[in-house]
């Protein structure tokens, strides 16, 4: 008997949920058809589980027993003051904002009126009102048969649709803020689309934050589709900070045309069970990507970073640096696949994943994979797992720094090397502040 056919309670709940809300989800008939297709695809696949190679270390089916009500008509409203509280250190980052609360655009919390250079719209509004072909184009399920992305198509309510026109260089970043709030259990599904035109250049920060007091029972599915046109550059940060319980399923699918640059930074902390998927396809020659990130996990938090970089064409460069700090029973997973297709000569790919273990009960699984079909390439990967360096601790302590503080300083230094990759100084400071807060609680405290 094929076990995959047997549906778990959660899988059943998802299908039932869909039946219940399908009519209320935004979108024309064409969009509804796409959603129905997607839920059909999901039914065939089920929740990802450990017998699927890419989900070996992150078994969603086994860990997600319950599905929370979809925040389809979520009325949660927050004030600007609450938004600032939820943003925490991110509030100090000078950026235009578009704000969503429990997956619904809240116009009054944003300041897009003068977001010069960006064309920003809310997906929910587009789905509800735009022409068939425009809205249907936004409701596709990315190829690859991923159950999480299929669920995203089925349930997505809203998100930011951002375009930067050809040749435009935008100075000030755009921050797409997703706040979760409200004392009720909820599941939220959002989708963004970032399109950067030829020779344009922009900086987008995607922030997933929580308003204190929000229910700990939260599930998020987020998908961001990115296209960077010829000669364009996108700097894209994703910051996910929650209170330690939430399920966070995230995907970012990136396509680059020739001579394009994509710099990504993913920061995660306080996520109960997280999967950060990042898929990049090089479609034009001479492009460069830098995918980096930092994550901190403790208690029994689980943070999975899964990258697939597809060098489909020659002369592209990819750099990856991910650093994780794991305390308590925290678990980090890093999977990094670099595919170099037969034609992709002169590919230059380097990947590094490092974990710092603060506890004997912490766990780190790393699976770098190089699939190289071309011969004239330079590719490499490395993984390190370490504890705090006793010599450096001694050096700090010999300068009078107490042990706890020395440990915090060392952890900051470890994670700081990744955070240094963030181009925006204010964002860098905000992420360092999050790291300090985390240390304040689990190391200094």
């Amino acid at each position: 008997m094929n076990v995959a056919v047997m549906k778990t309670k959660a899988e059943q709940a998802i299908s039932e949920n869909f039946e219940a809300v399908a009519e209320k989800l935004p979108g024309s008939e064409a969009v509804k058809a796409r959603r129905a297709e997607a839920i059909g695809a999901f039914s065939g696949l089920g929740l990802p589980h450990r017998r699927i190679e890419e989900w070996k270390y992150t078994d969603i089916r086994a860990n997600v027993k319950e599905i929370f009500p979809s925040a389809i008509h979520d009325a949660a409203r927050i004030t600007i003051a609450e938004l600032i509280v939820a943003l925490g250190p991110l509030a100090h980052v000078d950026a235009h904002r578009i704000v969503f609360v429990n997956g619904h655009h809240r116009f009054e919390l944003g300041d897009l009126a003068n977001a010069e250079g960006f064309k920003v719209a809310a997906l929910g509004e587009i789905l509800a009102s735009a022409s068939e072909d425009v809205s249907a184009a936004l409701a596709t399920t990315p190829e690859g048969g991923d159950a999480v992305e299929a669920l995203n198509t089925a349930f997505m309510t809203d998100g930011a649709v951002v375009t930067v026109a050809e040749g435009v260089t935008v100075a000030k970043p755009l921050m797409i803020v997703f706040v979760r709030a409200g004392a009720h259990a909820h599941s939220v599904t959002v989708r963004n689309s970032l399109m950067v035109g030829k020779n344009a250049s922009a900086d987008v920060i995607e922030a997933h934050v929580v308003l204190p007091g929000a229910s700990a029972d939260a599930q998020l599915n987020t998908l961001t589709e990115v296209t960077v046109a010829k000669g364009a550059m996108l700097i894209h940060a994703k910051v996910a900070v929650d209170d330690g319980k939430a399920l966070h399923l995230s995907n970012c699918d990136v396509t680059l045309d020739a001579d394009a640059t994509y710099r990504s930074f993913q920061f995660s902390t306080g996520l109960g069970l997280a999967r950060n998927g990042l898929n990049v396809i090089f479609e034009g020659e001479g492009s460069k990507i830098d995918l980096s990130g930092a994550y901190l996990a403790r208690h029994s938090e689980h943070i999975d970073t899964t990258l697939v970089v597809d060098h489909a064409v020659p002369r592209c460069e990819s750099r990856e640096l991910f650093k994780g700090v794991l305390d308590g029973h925290g678990r980090g997973v890093f999977q990094g696949k670099i595919i170099v297709r037969p034609d992709a000569q002169k590919t230059d790919g380097k990947q590094m994943s490092q974990a710092l273990m603060l506890s004997e009960d912490a766990e780190f699984d790393s699976k770098p994979e190089l699939e190289i079909y071309a011969d004239d390439v330079v590719c490499g990967h490395g993984t390190t797992v370490a504890e705090l360096d006793a010599d450096l601790l001694f050096y700090c302590r010999s300068r009078g720094i107490p042990e706890k503080e020395a440990r915090a300083l060392m952890i900051e230094s470890f994670i700081g090397e990744a955070i240094e990759k963030v181009d925006n100084e204010q964002l860098r400071d905000a992420l360092a502040a999050y790291a300090m807060q985390w240390l304040g609680r689990s190391v200094r405290g």
Binding site: R397, S398, I401, E405, M410
Partner: protein
């Protein structure tokens, strides 16, 4: 006064003894130089003074101002005024020099019952002390010692010392790797700290340093003990005759 009494030290996870009954007194206000062949235990002594793990004191004691320090944690010792300028200063990637200095200074001040310094007061102090050692503030914005040349690392150690104002200063081969100008600058930095309440232990291989930092006494450490003590002229003698006499005696 620093009193080292019959100190026996072995490696924590090996049976080998490194210091075998070392005794030495360094009164406040004095500078004592320690010279000796490679591998004789000079750095070991320095580390044991600072409280590094990996060494085990099997016998003897170390008193600083009449108080035994051998059971104290390294940061407690630092608060009591002990400072070691490392033979090989460590690099701390990711921690800006200024952050490190400020954390260290404020930790020590707190333990000594003094108020933490405000940012402007701290910056002013670092600039002033840095200038004397030819260390630009820009250098301190970089991670601690990362990418520094050998000489820059040594100067950075002396800057830390100048900021923390320790009362027992142990310098482990601070002169190695310094060019002629840096040697003078570092020596001036050390001499500026000399006063009646401070004791210095200066470990060196070269008599030249002692022209700049003139010692009250010179000790020869070989085979885990002080084999001979003399005035500054002993360094000149050693320069000529080497350590054959002492290593021979030890054998």
């Amino acid at each position: 006064m620093l009193e080292i009494k019959n100190l026996h030290v072995k490696l924590a996870d090996e049976d080998r003894m490194i210091l075998k009954g070392l005794s030495l007194n360094v009164p406040k206000g004095e500078v004592h130089a320690i010279m000796g062949p490679n591998g004789s235990g000079k750095s070991t002594l320095a580390y044991v003074l600072a409280g590094r793990d990996g060494y085990e004191v099997t016998d003897g004691d170390i008193l600083w101002n009449g108080e035994s320090i051998i059971d104290m944690e390294p940061d407690e010792r630092a608060a009591k005024g002990v400072f070691l300028a490392f033979q090989y200063p460590m690099e701390i990637p990711g921690v800006a020099g200024l952050t490190f200095l400020r954390t260290a200074l404020n930790s020590v001040r707190k333990k000594r019952g003094e108020a933490e310094l405000t940012t402007p007061a701290f910056m002013k102090l670092v600039k002033e002390k840095g200038q004397k050692l030819n260390i630009d503030i820009e250098m301190l914005k970089r991670p601690v010692n990362v990418g520094f040349s050998g000489g820059e690392k040594k100067r950075s150690e002396i800057l830390q010392m100048a900021l923390l104002e320790p009362t027992l200063c142990v310098l482990d081969e601070t002169d190695s790797g310094l060019d002629i100008d840096a040697l003078r600058i570092v020596s001036e930095g050390v001499n500026a700290l000399r006063d009646k309440d401070r004791a210095f232990v200066v470990i060196t291989h070269y008599q030249r340093l002692l022209n700049y930092i003139v010692p009250d006494k010179v000790h020869v450490l070989a085979d885990g003990r002080i084999q001979k003590t003399g005035g500054k002229e002993l360094a000149l003698e050693l320069e000529k005759s080497g350590y054959a006499e002492y290593t021979h005696k030890a054998a």
